[in-house]
């Protein structure tokens, strides 16, 4: 009886489980990884023979409610480990893949002693021998800009840097193996047959190298996971971080938004010193299991490849043969004979293509950019300067049909400079009567500045009018939807003032005058200025002092997807940006999304003309907000 390769079986089992956790995390945990379980827990303890109640704040140790305990902001450690598998393994897989992709050709060429390649490889190896990869990765990946990037942008940078520091070692292994293969006796036979070097590499070296390469690939994954665990202790992890326990606008410390293994170890030193061992033990255990899985798989495969009659090897070879495009074309040519494999392969190919090129959902409502341009022209040709702009906006708000609430006229403050119009949503009756469900109901505020367009009744900046023009066009699109929006929306036009107001001010300043009887919750969207024709991307920032709120992470991903859908080149950040007048409004919102440029130098330029405005971006800016409000169901 053949002896079973238990190492390989164990490795396959662990890696398959990890993959299952990556693709179907809900099988293992149905909780939201960002859900905050009860922050304060009440425990009955005995003190001096009496049962007393004790209040304990997060982190909570493992219990029936949270199997592996909770972290400092009360998120379930178990759920975060399960949901974090995908991010961690994706990074590990791609780094290993790219290290092979870079290391294989260079190692092959070095093994064949092609010109300067062996020297280049030796120098690269020496450099990475002198500068430890851990330090190098730490220095680069700790740059604040990288630390604040959203996951979709942070991941490629991690992949690039980890590939960069690790390819020479793999290339050296390939070089060593290639030299060994080229020194074999059968190669002399091939040379005698008149084969070129290229043919020898293609037909002899690569097939002999493939098994080792597969095994190295898995061992490399183990090493990358090891490096990620080390980096995590130095506070470096994939994905953005968000301030936690914000006091006076300053976070006490930072935590990760996306669940990811290394992020869970970023405060390991503090957690251990505070005795919160479970916060370090379980994520480290996840790393240990992951590294063990990849190492077992790599070693198991190595063992298998050394056998002369290995079934695994024959399966891999057969699979490689079956998936070869050459064979597929042959089978297509002889369709009658091979109709079954052709059918299966074609269906798989169609499915794959469908999956890759699946079109995004069309926008439900088109943003009227022509209207925005008309507004822009009208606003910048007001004879009465800034007063004229205000009157124009009020007239347009009336024409569009925005409600003024609670009083006549749209002026909100005593000077009537900040203008507010309401687009009633499904929750309008509840929020306007003060009977809203505070857990569910909230409003959306979309704000744009209209100040600084004129100076002494003379046009000083055309670009400054773009935000208000876009906001008017947006209001018209949103009020004309077939069905009312689910949330009531306030369209606001701010008039200047860059001063910071008291933290508690926004509710009083903004929401209370409109809904004086309650504490309405809100989401704030800030319409920034349009870029000029020379600018290549638009600024987008997302901020929330409650970033660990349920579904914030999904929301962030959804925003990214929507931005890609409207093909909006952007620079994404997790900082608080936007019009200075409403900075404090951001702090009390569920979250704030700023889209558009902040003040930039060109705006005050004398040559600031209509044709300098980047209308393409302006249109995408408006369309993105329309889609975001009408198609994204992520406000709850």
């Amino acid at each position: 009886m053949k002896k079973m390769n238990i190492t390989l079986i164990l490795g396959v089992f662990i890696v398959a489980t990890l993959l299952l956790m990556s693709f179907f995390p809900r099988i293992f945990s149905n909780n939201d990884p960002n859900l905050r379980l009860g922050r304060i827990q009440v425990h009955e303890v005995e003190q001096n023979g009496e049962a007393v109640r004790e209040f304990r704040s997060a982190p909570h140790p493992p219990s029936s409610q949270a199997l592996l305990g909770t972290d400092e902001i009360s998120r379930d450690v178990y759920t975060r480990i399960i949901h974090g598998t995908k991010v961690t393994l994706t990074c590990v897989f791609w780094v290993s893949f790219f290290r092979i992709l870079v290391g294989l050709p260079i190692g092959l060429l070095a093994g064949m002693r092609v010109r300067y390649i062996p020297k280049i490889l030796r120098v690269a190896n020496s450099i990475f021998t002198t500068i430890p990869s851990l330090i190098l990765c730490f220095v680069i990946l700790n740059i604040e800009y990288i630390r604040n990037l959203p996951l979709s942008q942070s991941m490629p940078i991690f992949i690039f840097i980890l590939t960069f520091v690790g390819w020479p070692k793999l290339a050296s292994l390939v070089e060593e193996k290639t030299t060994k293969i080229l020194g074999e006796e059968f190669i002399e036979g091939e040379i005698a047959l008149g084969k070129t070097r290229g043919e020898i590499v293609r037909q002899n070296v690569i097939p002999h190298l493939t098994p080792s390469l597969i095994s190295w690939g898995f061992l490399e994954m183990g090493l990358i996971l090891f490096l990620l665990a080390q980096l995590s202790i130095l506070g470096v992890f994939i994905g953005p971080r968000q301030g936690a326990m914000i006091i006076d606008g300053n976070p006490s410390w930072f935590t990760s938004l996306d669940p990811e293994w290394s992020s869970m170890l970023s405060r390991a030193a503090i957690d251990i010193s505070r005795g919160n061992y479970w916060l370090v033990f379980f994520p480290s255990l996840a790393f240990f299991i992951g590294i063990t899985g990849f190492n077992l798989l790599g070693e198991g495969l190595k063992e298998e490849f050394n056998k002369r009659d290995s079934r695994v090897v024959s399966i891999i070879r057969r699979l490689g043969y079956q998936l070869s495009p050459k064979l597929y074309l042959e089978q297509v040519k002889n369709l009658r004979r091979f109709y079954r494999p052709v059918l299966i392969k074609s269906s798989a190919l169609v499915l794959l293509l469908f999956f890759v090129f699946y079109p995004n959902a069309e926008s439900l409502y088109a943003f009227n950019d022509h209207r925005a341009v008309n507004h822009l022209e009208a606003m910048t040709h007001q004879e009465k300067g800034e007063d004229g702009v205000r009157e124009y906006i009020i007239d347009e708000m009336k024409r569009i049909g925005l409600l003024s609430f609670p009083e006549e006229g749209y002026g909100m403050d005593s000077e009537g400079e900040t203008l507010v119009g309401v687009i009633p949503g499904e929750n309008w009756e509840r929020v306007s009567s003060g009977k809203e469900d505070l857990r569910k109901d909230y409003i959306i505020i979309i704000g744009a500045r209209y100040d600084g367009i004129f100076e002494d009744d003379k046009l000083s900046s055309l670009t400054r009018a773009t935000a208000a023009a876009n906001n008017l066009a947006l209001a018209e699109t949103l009020i004309n939807t077939d069905e009312p929006l689910s949330q009531t929306t306030l369209i606001v036009f701010w008039d200047g003032g860059g001063e910071m107001v008291n933290m508690a001010e926004p509710n009083r300043y903004m929401v209370r005058p409109v809904f004086p009887h309650n504490q309405t919750d809100y989401v704030y969207i800030d319409m920034g200025y349009a870029p000029n024709v020379e600018q290549r991307s638009l600024q987008v920032s997302l901020y929330s002092s409650r970033a660990q709120h349920i579904q914030f992470q999904s929301l962030m991903h959804s925003i990214q997807e929507n931005l890609e859908k409207v093909d909006l080149r952007h620079h994404f950040s997790m900082n608080m940006r936007g019009s200075g007048a409403v900075v404090s409004l951001y702090l009390n919102s569920r979250y704030s999304l700023m889209i558009g440029q902040e003040y930039y130098q060109f705006m005050e330029d004398e040559s600031n003309e209509l044709f300098d405005v980047n209308f393409e971006f302006m249109k995408k800016q408006g369309q993105f907000i329309v889609d975001f409000i009408t198609m994204t169901d992520l406000f709850d």
Binding site: P132, Q230, I233, L234, F288, T292, N295, L296, Q539
Partner: protein
């Protein structure tokens, strides 16, 4: 002949020295970028928060300070940079050296004891080979810290396990750093004994009634030492990454601890932190380079000795 060998050694040393100098210069140039380096979004475009002029000035300053030796006199909050470097290097070096010695001390006997298990084939052997090296340092450190806290708080041990006040603070970092190399040493020792077990001279010695201890002392030990020299580069690389993590986790103020501190915390002054960071990263680089070269030399020296024996 001898002069040719000497020439070759000089040439190689010169080459390595030149390479080290080049690396130092590269490191000094790289670290001319301020520690608070960042990208920002200005006028609709991504821009760096520093200027090329500033980076160039920093580079000139770094090179100037380093090659004139004035970098060691830069005043930091905790004394001069040279003083800090000296003390932290000594601490790191002690942890490193004693960690290696401790690893040898328990690794070799464990390897000798494990030699019987070497006969076991298949899964168990593979697991023994794989599991210790799949364990991230953090798990080892956690185990040690939990144990240390338990012993300390219950009055079983007077050894503190964080920061640095006395030499006793180095004990747990030494234990932590010795675990992985110790496991590797044990594995190498066991494999070395296994390789030698079937050699004719061992069989003869055993046939003539040589005791196990004598057999170990006279025959196996030589092979083990040669194999360990061969494994030294791997062990040192392993220890080097570990020391960064261990110093951080135990708040042990060695080279790596300060390096991370200068980079992340800036210790109040970005400019001085940048200079300190440059010096510490160069020191780490030189330390790593010398260790690696030493290990490499030993490995190269061992190979012919082993072959001839």
């Amino acid at each position: 002949m001898k002069s040719e060998v000497k020439k070759a050694i000089y040439k190689k040393t010169l080459k390595k020295g030149f390479f080290l100098l080049l690396v130092i210069i590269i490191l000094l140039l790289i670290t001319s970028v301020p520690v608070n380096f960042n990208f920002d979004y200005v006028d609709g475009d991504i821009a760096i928060n520093t200027t090329w002029r500033q980076i160039r000035n920093n580079a000139v300053e770094n090179l100037n300070l380093f090659f004139t030796g004035r970098i060691f006199l830069v005043d930091m909050d905790r004394g001069t940079l040279g003083g800090m470097l000296l003390i932290s290097s000594l601490r790191s070096f002690s942890v490193f050296t004693f960690g290696l010695l401790l690893g040898l001390l328990w690794g070799i006997p464990k390897g000798v004891l494990d030699r019987r298990k070497i006969h076991q084939k298949g899964t168990l052997k593979s697991l023994q080979k794989i599991l210790p090296f799949s364990m991230p340092e953090i798990l080892i450190i956690l185990g040690i810290q939990v144990l240390a806290t338990y012993l300390y708080t219950n009055g079983y041990s007077p050894i503190p396990h964080g920061g640095y006040r006395t030499w006793m603070n180095a004990i747990y970092p030494i234990i932590a750093i010795s675990i992985l190399p110790g496991a590797y040493i044990a594995k190498t020792t066991a494999e070395s004994i296994q390789d030698q077990q079937n050699q004719p001279y061992i069989r003869v010695a055993r046939g003539k009634g040589c005791s196990s201890f004598r057999l170990f002392r006279v025959h196996y030990l030589r092979g083990i030492i040669l194999d360990l020299f061969g494994a030294l580069p791997t062990i040192l690389v392993m220890m080097f990454s570990s020391i960064v993590i261990i110093e951080r986790m135990f708040y042990f103020p060695g080279l790596a601890y300060y390096l991370v501190e200068f980079y992340t915390n800036s210790m109040g002054n970005v400019h001085r932190a940048g200079i300190a960071f440059s010096l510490f990263i160069v020191a780490m680089g030189v330390f790593y380079f010398l260790l690696y070269q030493l290990a490499d030399f030993l490995k190269t020296w061992v190979r012919p000795v082993k072959e001839s024996s």
